[in-house]
Symmetry: D2
Subunit: 234 residues, 4 copies
Amino acid sequence: MIRVTIWNEYEHERNIPGIMAVYPEGIHGALKKNLDPEEDMIVRCSTLDDPEQGLSEEILADTDVLIWWSHARQDDVTDKTVERVIRHVHSGMGLIALHSAHFSRVFRRLMGTPCTLSWKHGDREKLFCVEPSHPIAKGIPACIELEDEELYGEPFSIPKPDDVVFMGWFEGGAVFRSGCTFTRGYGRIFYFQPGHEENRVYDHPDIRRIIVNSIRWAAPSVRLAAPPDNVELG
Amino acid sequence: MIRVTIWNEYEHERNIPGIMAVYPEGIHGALKKNLDPEEDMIVRCSTLDDPEQGLSEEILADTDVLIWWSHARQDDVTDKTVERVIRHVHSGMGLIALHSAHFSRVFRRLMGTPCTLSWKHGDREKLFCVEPSHPIAKGIPACIELEDEELYGEPFSIPKPDDVVFMGWFEGGAVFRSGCTFTRGYGRIFYFQPGHEENRVYDHPDIRRIIVNSIRWAAPSVRLAAPPDNVELG
Amino acid sequence: MIRVTIWNEYEHERNIPGIMAVYPEGIHGALKKNLDPEEDMIVRCSTLDDPEQGLSEEILADTDVLIWWSHARQDDVTDKTVERVIRHVHSGMGLIALHSAHFSRVFRRLMGTPCTLSWKHGDREKLFCVEPSHPIAKGIPACIELEDEELYGEPFSIPKPDDVVFMGWFEGGAVFRSGCTFTRGYGRIFYFQPGHEENRVYDHPDIRRIIVNSIRWAAPSVRLAAPPDNVELG
Amino acid sequence: MIRVTIWNEYEHERNIPGIMAVYPEGIHGALKKNLDPEEDMIVRCSTLDDPEQGLSEEILADTDVLIWWSHARQDDVTDKTVERVIRHVHSGMGLIALHSAHFSRVFRRLMGTPCTLSWKHGDREKLFCVEPSHPIAKGIPACIELEDEELYGEPFSIPKPDDVVFMGWFEGGAVFRSGCTFTRGYGRIFYFQPGHEENRVYDHPDIRRIIVNSIRWAAPSVRLAAPPDNVELG
């Protein structure tokens, strides 16, 4: 069984009426509903206002793959929380960073780059599969059309990804590396661009399927008790 | 001095009136005119109907960087010519494959993949610079607008490039890895998508600059007399 | 079920007494014996002297992952066989190229490089796992000691691999990228250096495990009827 | 002109008699002496005990390529200094991290990984050139022998490098990715393993040449006033 924790800052869905209406159960709740049918996954949620910011040592030690959504409160995540999450990624915990999580403190620290991009509200996206034999692309069509999505455009200031599985085309005139993998220590990371809070894109069957695939891909085959350390040979 | 040979199949510009009008001096002639002012380059041209298909041992041995344009007569290039060019690439000769050269026999053999793509006549392109610190991007703006260009779209069946320097956005609804680098043996290769024969895109100052940059990047620091061979250690 | 075909040129084991003694059932026979217990695999063998060089259209169409061992008779593999195998790799068939298969015509064509290296008989190897979270490294220790192995050394003239999973250290004074992955079209390729015919290294439990892992990793999630082709958009 | 700043924690050479004898002018002094003859470089030094830890805003803004050596006092480098250096790397400043700088706070933050390795005092190294056509390898032989060097061994917990230019073999039984490149924002980074403080390896003509080459490679073609930021499109 893959132990999945969906972490959400859970801000917009409690405070902005239009977004409350889109995701009344929170983005985490919607993601959970979509993952619950998967028989090889146990899914739970936590949020920024939970004790220890919802990312306690106990929760992380009990998580194989962490899904992360954040936007308005990126900077409320404390140094201590950031360090704890990174330590678990280095030890093997998988991480799926969704949409505006490109600018979360955890993702930026794992990348070592600014992680900045261009953006614009209200656009139409075509998501192209560039690596069709990648496990995350299993069962995914060559192109997914998303009628309402926020435009994210290059330059996206990330290190060279291990794999660029998906590339996004935006009607407003932008391209984006929309689905990228990285390895950091023993942890496998997938960044996935779709998921603007104003549209219920996570219920799209292909988007749902990509997230399911990415969880299976990111689940660790090895999980260390602590990150690797320097070793003096005898 | 970098010795540049521009090789062109030189077919459309002799046989299709509309294209004759666009490139009366041939695509090779237009490229040469654009490169001649560069003081660190000596530029010559050759074409498919020249002796030994314009790619004799003498010419290749005297070439640091080979620029290649082909389309209608890809399959007229013989095995012998293909082997000769590949041998020189492996020995250190640089190769700039332009536009429809994605499907040349030489490029496909160097890639080891089908090199297929999607395409459509008559579109508008925005070319985004994704690796702004790459030598090929020196002096190039974040986005180049090309009013008339053929649409090339993913999936582009190439191996993972060393670098994706440029990504193309097409109004018709496609994205493309438009500027990619590869290393094969001692040879450095740049594939560059713009250059449909119906529009004089090679005179665009930024496109011209990219080609100049790519020649400097691909010029060998080491040129072997023959490709590397297996070596039995003493 | 993963349909595995083990292909062997089967030359040394029939003609050189010392090697007959090491692998009386042929290298293919030894590999098969090691894979037979895997419940998710159906394993068969074929060899160079079989009809259509053991690589007929029927056999390839019925193969998910092809294991390849060759050395003395690399050049007896015909153009037709090479083209057929490559077509199936591009369509999704996995390929595991073992030891001296670095210089097989199929592998060199898929790489597009010389694939040359340094070598010396009779050495001791330590095989280090460099990407411990890679699926091919599952259950593999940080270092495997091989008392008798042929030395293979850098420079190994290959394109940049997708992943370097294992690196070899040789007592005689060489390093080598011993376990490398590549993608070509829809096909996943693993090159693995151990397997000199004079020592029964394929029975080493960790080597056996790496090959099992690599078969699961290379098994296609998509298998096309033919390689991708250029597509004109409507 | 390339403005080079050599930064050294400058601890061992002031406090350990054996190392004082090896590098009486400090490691920075020895490096400077080796770089001074290069006509396209202006070289200066700074050290940890200088004002603002030798890495003030003025110094960094006036530096094209920063060379970094540190070991015993890694953790004395403050958050403020780390942030300042990273901001300049993201803006285009090149960084050459030498030897034990693998564990400097700046390098680890730019990598996003533990950057741990295996090590042992007193060994013999053979440094193999794996990418002979890379600009950093210009004029470098296929193998450099270093009689006295500290053993550094895999696993080296770094992200996949852009290029692995050199691989190290150690007599004591280890391999290492000894020369690796990375890009972070607009900054180019080269990690280079040789340089244990107990041996005067930086005077070895090939090691000197590699460092010179790496400075030219890392010198920025674009230098921003500040790192890239998110951009809202109009």
